[in-house]
């Protein structure tokens, strides 16, 4: 009942719903520009429509809608340091800079034929986009989106690799993996028109995604082609890749994988790392110092996202098709599932509010985003959204590797 009353109140506001915002975008702009901060804003990707909903996580509600952003399948976003602008990476190679306050596209470029994601440098001046086609990473001026240079992922003469798992690390650097080549590259972009690239070879077969720890010290690439992950200690004088959790599948046939796991937005909880097992209904637990296996947690399906609540006390897990109607919550001390919920068909993504009091969950085939209280697990709001996928909050601007 409380929720209904709340939603009714939201719907009454002129700028309170996506539909209203679409019709009255211009009416909303002045008001929001004059009154709103940006630390509690975020966006929801409506991937089939090529639009985003700008949301406020304090109320919580949809503030405005921005359209004409191209093919947003697998779209992700990073944010400017002032948390006013979102940089959106689309599958069609589109790179869009969106002003969250005025709900306008500042600049938009089609920078490649097919891209997978991007990152922003620690100083906020460089946008790096990881591309499938042409394989490599392109750098852009964050202010204007003017191209700076390209790091072609040419691992053999004339042969380029798809790039995945790009992450920013301190020192104006980016780390990414080469899917086809089985390599990890570390690009020092102190001089962004002439990056210095360090190549780590033979890191393992088919790295499908990567992540960096919140400290920026450890980079991990998940391997699709073998049981294990590649790890690089970026604090080492001479960084090198080594495999961890080797053979976690124990030679057993893996289950068909209907959706690749995503490592970014991953789970470090105290002295443990929680990582997805490929083709298994398991979460792998590693000791964060030794990186040795420290346990496994049986879960509902194949994990796609394992995200720690910002305090690390719980981790929330969502799953691959066809078991993707369920969310489970893991106690990171007891290392067991303590809660389960069924938000509905095709749960695709989740994002915690900056200190984790709530979590927003996209339920694609219900055309809805649900907001849950993370202490009581009660649903506190439902927001309509068309085929929602990724949810990204501006607090990411202040975090390494996000």
């Amino acid at each position: 009942m409380k929720r209904r009353a709340f939603l009714g109140g939201v719907a009454g506001l002129a700028c309170g719903t996506a539909a209203a915002a679409a019709k009255k975008a211009s009416a909303c702009e002045g008001v929001e520009a004059a009154l709103s901060g940006t630390g509690d804003l975020g966006l929801i990707v409506e991937r089939a429509d090529g639009s985003i909903l700008v949301v406020n996580t304090s109320r919580p509600q949809v503030v405005s809608k921005v359209e004409n952003l191209g093919d947003l399948s697998h779209a992700s976003a990073v944010f400017s340091r002032d948390q006013r602008f979102a940089y959106l990476f689309g599958r069609d190679g589109g790179l869009s800079k969106v002003d969250l306050v005025s709900a306008r596209i500042e600049t938009r470029v089609i920078q490649a034929g097919n891209s997978i994601g991007g990152a922003i440098s620690d100083d906020g001046t460089i946008i790096a986009v990881a591309n499938y086609e042409p394989g490599g990473v392109r750098l852009f001026d964050a202010e204007t989106l003017a191209p700076l240079t390209e790091i072609a992922a040419e691992y053999a003469p004339g042969v380029r690799s798809k790039t995945v798992g790009i992450a920013d690390v301190p020192g104006r650097r980016f780390v990414f993996s080469l899917y086809d080549a089985g390599e990890i590259w570390i690009a020092d972009c102190a001089n962004p028109s002439k990056p210095a690239v360090q190549r780590l070879k033979n890191i393992g077969r088919l790295p499908y995604d990567g992540l960096v720890t919140p400290s920026g010290r450890h980079y991990f690439a998940g391997l699709f082609g073998e049981d294990g992950l590649a790890h690089v200690d970026l604090w080492a004088p001479e960084p090198e890749a080594r495999k961890i959790l080797v053979g976690y599948g124990k030679g057993e046939e893996k289950l068909p994988v209907y959706k690749m796991p995503h490592l970014r937005g991953w789970a470090q909880a105290g002295d443990r790392l929680l990582l997805p097992a490929i083709g298994r209904h398991e979460v792998l637990v590693a000791d964060s110092r030794t990186l040795d296996e420290a346990g496994r947690i049986q879960v509902h399906g194949q994990p796609v996202f394992i995200v720690a609540r910002p305090d690390g006390r719980h981790a929330w897990v969502i799953f691959a098709h066809p078991r993707n109607d369920t969310v489970q919550v893991i106690d990171t001390v007891a290392l067991r599932v303590i809660h389960e919920m069924r938000p509905g068909p095709a749960v695709l993504h989740m994002e915690f509010t900056p200190r984790g009091h709530q979590v927003w969950i996209s339920v694609r085939d219900a055309d809805r985003v649900d907001v849950y209280d993370t202490q009581t697990f009660a649903k506190v709001a439902e927001l309509p959204a068309r085929k929602p996928s990724g949810i990204f909050f501006t607090a990411r601007a202040q975090r390494i590797g996000m």
Binding site: D71, E133, P256, V257, Y258, M260, D365
Partner: protein, 103 residues
């Protein structure tokens, strides 16, 4: 009710036999765009997986495409969909990809 039906679709194995009705075709089209689309792109232009656009598939053998859908491609991330899709459904999807999905 719509939500419940859709939810059911996502967890049950898809084993309907006989000719495909319109409801099922709509479900399959959604599956292709949304779930095949996680690797092949929602517009089928390719991603981690290859392009599935008509210009690449038109000349291919339909039964061969259906077999790839059902059995996957070992050594790559393409999984076998047998168990989730019937042979008739895989053949129908192969045909739709060759023609091109409606915009």
């Amino acid at each position: 009710m719509v939500v419940i039906a859709a939810s059911f679709f996502h967890v049950r194995p898809l084993r309907g036999q006989g000719p495909l009705d319109q409801v099922r075709k709509t479900e399959l089209e959604n599956l292709v765009r949304q779930d095949c689309g996680s690797c092949h792109g929602m517009t089928m232009k390719g991603g981690l997986g290859r392009s599935l656009l008509p210009e690449r598939l038109r000349e291919a053998d339909r039964d061969g495409l259906a077999a790839i859908i059902l059995d996957g491609i070992p050594g790559t991330p393409m999984p076998p969909w047998r168990g989730l899709l019937t042979e008739a459904e895989a053949a129908w999807i192969a045909g739709r990809l060759q023609e091109g999905l409606a915009k």
